[in-house]
Every structure is written in C-alpha cells, then in structure tokens.
Symmetry: C2
Subunit: 338 residues, 2 copies
Amino acid sequence: MNSKPSPQPTALVLLTEQEKKEFLPPDLESRLRELFPDLIWIEAPVQEDEWHRVLREQKPEIVLCAWETPTLPIEATEHLKYVCFLCGSIRKLVPRELIERGLSVTNWGSSISNTVAECSLLLILAALRRVGNWSVAMRTKGEWKTSRHPDTLSLFGRRVGLHGLGAISCELVKLLEPFRVQISAFSPSVPDQIYNDLNIRRCETLEDLFATSDVLVELAPGKPDNYHIVGDDLLKLLPEQAVFVNLGRGMVVDEDALVRASRERGLHIALDVYETEPLPVDSPLRSLDNITLLPHLGGPTPDRRRDCGELALQNLENYLNDKPLINLIDLNTYDRAT
Amino acid sequence: MNSKPSPQPTALVLLTEQEKKEFLPPDLESRLRELFPDLIWIEAPVQEDEWHRVLREQKPEIVLCAWETPTLPIEATEHLKYVCFLCGSIRKLVPRELIERGLSVTNWGSSISNTVAECSLLLILAALRRVGNWSVAMRTKGEWKTSRHPDTLSLFGRRVGLHGLGAISCELVKLLEPFRVQISAFSPSVPDQIYNDLNIRRCETLEDLFATSDVLVELAPGKPDNYHIVGDDLLKLLPEQAVFVNLGRGMVVDEDALVRASRERGLHIALDVYETEPLPVDSPLRSLDNITLLPHLGGPTPDRRRDCGELALQNLENYLNDKPLINLIDLNTYDRAT
C-alpha cells in the first residue's frame, strides 16, 4: 500500500501534555506510532530559539502540532514538507512565504463543524427560552417567573435564517431537522445544488434573509468584505420576536447596532464571538437584559478534539501514500483565514 | 357525519384575553365558532359566585377553559357532561366527585410533549457547555475563559439515560437522533416493544441507569412512590463528568443530595422543576457554581399553546360525533396527577 520510497520521512510531534490528552488520546497515539516508528516527540511549550534548534537538528519532513507551537521560521525549515496542524488558525504558526515555497499545511477543517453546530443549536434554544436572563435572575437575584405567560418561544415551526452556508451551517441543518423549521440562507457563492439538496430557500439578498427569519444565525466568514455588514439597517428588518445568534465571527456584526436593537426593540441575542476577544469588561453587551453570552466556546469541546486527531491521522496516512490531503491550505484559503 | 341528535349541546368558553390569544388564536376561534354557532363566551377571570351563577343559568353541557377558571362546584353542574381543559393539571379545577359522577374531562395531554422535550435538549446542552456558569460569569463578573481547554463537553456520542419513558421522553429521543447518542431508560411499566421501536436499552434498575449515563435526564412521574427516589446513593453512581437534568417533577429528587453532589463532586446540573415552587429565595441551589436554572418554563411556550387549542378542537369534534376523546382523565389518571 505504501508507495512512498524508503526511508520513511522524519516526523516530529510538538504538543503539550494537555493537547496530547485531548487530540491524541492513547488509542490514537498508538496508531500514530505505528505509522512512524521513529517518531520524534517533543513536549510543548518550547522557547522560540529551542524550537529553531530542534528544527535545524532534526530536519523533520513532517511536523504535527497544535496551539502551543512557536511560529515556524523561514530558515531552518528547508526540509519541512508537511505541517499537520491539529487546530484551526494557521496564520500565527505558518508565515505565508512557507506556503508560497510549497509547504503543505492542513488544519482541523470541517472536522469540528458538528460541535460548532451543536453550540449554535444551544444558543438558538437559549435565546428563545431566555436562558441568559433566567440564569442571572435565578442565581443572582432570587427571582421566579411572575406569570403563566412567560416571554418564551419554541423553535418548532419557526423560520430559521442562516447567514453563511459552509460546513457548520450544513451540520446545523441536520440538528434542526426534528424541529420542522423552514430554513433560508444567504451565501451567494454556494451553488443552487447545495440549497436544493438541503431543502433550503436561497435568499438573493441579506435584506430578504433578515426580513424573513425568526431565528437569525450568523455564520458568515470573517473576510474584509463582511466587516460590520450586519448593522442597524439589517437588524431593523428582523421580524417581531426574532432572536439573533452569532457563532461565526465577531467582526461581521456592528456591536453598537446590536446593543441598540436590544435596548430599543427588545431583540433577544445569544453570542459566542465578539469584535474584540476577550470581550472587554466594560462592553455594553455584558449589561443587556436579553442576552446569553459564552466566551468563544463554540469550537470543539475537549472531548471531541479526538475527532481532529482522527482527521490528522488520516492525513498523515494520505501523505505517506501520496494521496491528496484533506483541508489543504492554499494561498487563497490562507489569505481568507481569520 | 354528526350522529348526535339535535339540538346542539350548549357550550361555554371561559378564558382570559391572554389565554384566548395563546390557546385559540383567530383561526382556531373561527373553527370553534363554526362548531358551536351558539357558543357562550365569558371573559375570565370571574369571581367564584359569579362562576356558579353562570353555570346555574346557562346550564352548559360543555365547558372549554384554561388556568384562570375557579373550581367547578358539585352543585350547579348537573348539566355538565364534558370539560375540555386547555392546560394540564385538572385537580384544582375538577373535584374528584364530578369524575366519579361521570363527567368527561380532557387536558393538553401529550400535545405539549415536544416543547418539554425541546427544553430538555436545551438543558442538556446547557449543562454540557456550562451555560449557567458563563451567563452569570460574563454578565455579572466581567469574566472570560482562561484557557484553550475549557471544562466543556459535547453531546455527540455520549450515553443518555432517561428516568421515565413517557410521551416527553419519546419526543426527546427524536431530537437526540442527530447526536448519535446511546440511549438507555428506566421505566418498568413500559413494554419491551417501545424500547425496541425507539432503539433504547432497557435498564432493569435505576442503579444501572445512573451508573451508565453521561447525561441523566429526570422525567419520572411525580407519584408518591417516586418521592426522593433520586438521592445520594444514585447520584454517586453517575460517571465522572456526568450532567444531571430535571424537567419532570421536583419531588422525585432529594435536593439536598443534589447540592452535595454539586459541591462535593462537581456534578453539573440543569433544572426546570423544584421540590417547592416558586423556588425559595434562599435555596442553596441558587448559589451553586455548576448549575443552570429555569423557573418551570419547560411546558408549552405561549407560541405553541395553539397546539393545545388544536387538540381541544379535535376533542370537541370527537364529542359532537360520539367519537372517543383524546387524553380522557379517568379516576386512575386523576389520582396520579400532580
């Protein structure tokens, strides 16, 4: 099966104890060591100069690593052909020049989409049932409901609008299926076939999407074109009793407009991402009434990070067998990454 | 189709403006008025003596009503044959003697199960992602996560245990389907066929259920046998990192034991129901770290109460056509009701 000529490429792992535990639990570590009997394993964190020295001395062809890895230097990486990154954002780790030079880089890609979709469903349900309000009111104010007619809503039968139709949205559609919702999406670059396969209505404009969505889920990519694309004008189009959820990128939404929509029109909001992270202590979002806030936890929960490890193992096998790599980062993807 | 002899039975509606808006929105009200052209409609609330006078004077055969209805008197209800109650708990409204005497009573039965199941899924996801903690921490303490390795869990692939396998649990199973969970249940009276149809493992003991559930969902009925059946012994059997959710009846769970499980073993908890409701201001549950609390909102959200109205209309049609009533309350059900 292995069409790669001997000797086997040198592979180097750099992970903290915690990263190893989450991304490569024992069964996956065993499979990795079977693939690479001469694996070099270094425990992170390492200082930058130590990292450079290791790369110079070991001359790895493959590096497998996660968050706690210093930037790859331009020098001392001449032998490096493939960086298998277990996480998402690769711009801090890999200078563009290395990709220009032909370095292959992969990341967790869509292996995490189902967990982000799960958090999206959680925030949708939380916004509809006012979980943020009640959590605070019950735990810090000794409150109880005052009426048999609470201001709560069900997801069943509502109109859900997806701003963005990438891998996370596609996974979210599966989770929404039992709720018999009507789904619309705005994502101009996605072909009709995808909309048809998912039974989603295509919106030609963001205005149409916002005006027809009881539940607006913000999952648009954080590219410059999308900066503050969601502002007063769009938010004002949301139907009465609509809820707004952002699991995508904070920069897409004008937070001042969001605060106005909450204060002036009672919009219920649930957020996992923010323009500035960590969210500033004095952010007005923290003092809104109708809001559920999470500190950017939408990504893979530690118990599902092994899925990223599984994907990495698949890619390492593909590399050894000269098969195409999954989630290969080309210059285009690199430039669009956040 | 109408096999009932003329003249049409006298039907009386007693609802508040709000109840009418929620349970019988205009389209349903129209259908009701088509069924009963001579419908008597009284706006609640009414005083008890006024209520008795109306019943004596109008002699309705059918009463359609909701929460804001005074108890039906033993006297002045000789003509009454059917009480179509739009809500759940009928013991405050209907004295047992009237059912003994042959009065037919129906309630919302399982028409609300999907909304309670929805709230169950919400509390499961909230407990796994620590929404209660973060809502309070982000909104009242200016906090942010301190690590890339938060103490959060995904529902994907976990073992879910259902204590109770009634209509709500069956609806919940549908919502859990996309999460590829393994479901077990403890409900001795439910026949094997139901377990098999739902692809649920039958637990012969509660001990087995608790010891094998990463997510324990409490949905057992509030009958006297179940009083405090969930205490220290069972809670200690839960696996490490388990979460505990109660959407059923507060009396089933020993809250002191729950507090101990949280404080001493870090159990994450999400609750919608309590032993005493409203939950006392000084309840220790309110000051736990790892908890999400709702004030008994699991029932049908106001926007889905029209489903109860639809069911009531179906029952009124059935009554007129001498067909069996759905969710008819017999003495056995009456005595078990909470």
